[in-house]
């Protein structure tokens, strides 16, 4: 009788430890998503700032300046629900403006342009990176949260179900070629 009780107790403690460990795993994944999302926000903001700077610098022709300024401004001001669309539109605007290598050359030749071109190249390279890392974290968290033990014991608490960040982040060909 006592032996049975002890075994039940041992089993309960083991299950408790396992659940606590799983909750720790989940907590770590949520922290990873938060960090990845902060990094993605920082990269997106950096990209929009450089684009806006270039648009107002007078290096580009007026039409290109207006298109780029519009898109960069919209991306920075977008509400959370419209963010993905606004950032995708900024990618498209950047691709349209920097479609030709000559345009990149023109920016480089302007005073301070070398720096601006380098910052933009870095930004358009890092946005897809940060987004991939973010979505990878989201996928890992979702896989764990779908598991029975997490759902039955409500280990995720009140944390919202993580969502991937979907956008068009294809960089302008002329900029990537310089980097490659």
């Amino acid at each position: 009788m006592t032996a049975t009780l002890i075994w039940i107790l041992v089993a309960l403690v083991a299950i408790g430890l396992y659940l606590s460990w799983t909750a720790g795993r989940l907590d770590r994944l949520h922290a990873r998503i938060d960090a990845a999302r902060a990094a993605l926000d920082a990269q997106l903001l950096r990209r929009a700032s450089v684009a806006q700077e270039l648009a107002t610098s007078g290096v580009l022709d007026p039409a290109a300046s207006i298109v780029l300024y519009e898109a960069a401004h919209a991306a920075r001001q977008a509400e959370e629900e419209q963010r993905e669309v606004a950032e995708s539109e900024l990618s498209q605007a950047l691709r349209a403006v920097f479609a030709e290598p000559q345009q990149v050359e023109a920016v480089r030749d302007a005073p301070g342009g070398e720096e601006a071109a380098r910052e933009l190249t870095e930004a358009v390279r890092r946005v897809p990176m940060a987004r991939r890392f973010h979505n990878d974290a989201v996928r890992a968290a979702r896989a764990l949260r779908r598991h029975r033990k997490v759902r039955w014991f409500r280990l995720a608490g009140h944390a919202p179900f993580p969502l991937a960040f979907e956008m068009d982040d294809e960089p302008p060909a002329a900029l990537v070629d310089r980097a490659a």
């Binding site: 960090a35 990269q43 890092r126 979505n135 896989a143």
Partner: protein
């Protein structure tokens, strides 16, 4: 930035991953970052100042061959001490899925972790059995890097998730500025690789050689690499054996001169390649490249634009392409030029900057690396309130 790099394979044994880590560490040190590399090594091997030994790797049968791995209590303790002493901003683990130091570090660390997947092994039974454990360790990785599109695809299929592709780096100028050796010039075909490793493809080249020599009898085949030379030429008719020269193992400097000298570099590998650094080195040195059409090779050669491809394991196709190239100096010059432009994207200045971008992306908005108190014995003690500091 304080960077910790984990090397899964013995530092005393030369290999692609080890060289990659060495070059990467030295590149970051030149830029002024603090770098520490944790690697398995014998206690009496001389190590560069930035390498910390994690003890000797033990040979164990794993995945169909004998692998030298680090595991067990002592290695885990050394990993924890290294993490604790290093106070890294980011750690970069190579081959985190192999049951060695990489996996131990993944298990023992928390904070920004970057991992590079080099190989594209087919999924092993052990990996399926250990999937749950592996997943718990691998999900700590904040950023995954694959060395090629091919390696990324296997990673996605086997482990899920995604990765950015950053190729392996090469010091292009080291090869581009090497001096040619006249002994190795004049209708020469070059091959570098283990002679006795069939996957490196020397047998295919040997099968093609009689046809090449029939069309161009003055051709010489130069072979650099370890292995049994007698056995390698066994399939060749006796009168042709003198056309093959074995150079044995060669130094890095000689390798650069070798690639600079040969008229055609042939990579007849039959499989097991996830990147193909030797092709990048050959292109850096300005050697026209003829390679088998493995996925990884095709990608490095820009689908045949920067070097020619032949059907894998097809000796006739190899012979035909080699003869055509040797008879056409204009085409070889064209390949040389295309290769040296294409290869710039593999230079350390580009690759290193990309890897640094990854580090900066994951460290933005995250705390520094620390030993994870939730794992191992100390985790249990912490949970029961018995932990000591």
């Amino acid at each position: 930035m304080r960077i910790g790099i984990v090397c899964p394979y013995s530092w005393d044994v030369p290999g692609g991953v080890q060289f990659h880590i060495r070059d990467l560490a030295e590149y970051f040190i030149r830029l002024g970052h603090e770098v520490s590399v944790l690697a398995p090594a014998d206690d009496d091997t001389p190590l560069p100042p930035y390498v910390v030994s994690a003890g000797r790797a033990v040979p164990v049968p794993y995945n169909g061959s004998v692998a030298r791995l680090n595991f067990g209590f002592l290695s885990a303790a050394r990993v924890r001490r290294w993490l604790h002493d290093g106070e890294f901003d980011v750690i970069h683990i190579h081959e985190p899925a192999s049951p060695s130091l990489g996996l131990l570090t993944c298990w023992a660390a928390q904070g920004p972790i970057v991992a590079t997947f080099h190989t594209s092994n087919p999924r092993s039974r052990a990996m399926i059995a250990a999937y749950a454990i592996l997943q718990a360790a691998l999900e700590k990785i904040s950023a995954r890097i694959a060395v090629s599109e091919y390696a990324r695809r296997t990673l996605v299929e086997h482990l899920g998730g995604d990765a950015v592709v950053i190729p392996n780096g090469v010091d292009v100028d080291f090869f581009a500025k090497a001096e040619a050796n006249p002994d190795w010039q004049g209708d020469t075909i070059g091959f570098i690789g283990r002679i006795d490793e069939p996957r490196k493809g020397l047998p295919v080249l040997m099968k093609a050689l009689p046809k090449i020599l029939a069309a161009r009898p003055q051709t010489r085949l130069l072979v650099a690499g370890r292995g049994d030379e007698e056995e390698a030429v066994e399939s060749l008719p006796a009168e042709l054996r003198s056309r093959v020269e074995f150079l044995g193992m060669i130094s890095d400097e000689d390798k650069a001169r070798f690639l600079r000298s040969v008229d055609l570099y042939v990579a007849p590998n039959t499989g097991g390649e996830s990147f193909g650094i030797i092709l990048v080195e050959a292109m850096s040195a300005g050697a026209p490249v003829l390679a088998s059409d493995l996925d990884a090779f095709a990608q490095v050669l820009d689908q045949g634009a920067a070097g020619e491809l032949f059907a894998n394991e097809d000796a006739d196709a190899l012979a035909e392409a080699a003869v055509r190239l040797l008879e056409d100096p204009a085409r070889r010059t064209e390949l040389r030029e295309r290769g040296s432009v294409h290869v710039r994207r593999f230079d350390w200045s580009t690759v290193g900057a990309d890897i640094l971008s990854v580090y900066e992306t994951v460290t933005a908005g995250a705390a520094a690396v620390a030993a994870d108190e939730r794992t191992g014995g100390s985790g249990l003690r912490a949970r029961l309130g018995l932990a000591r500091d």
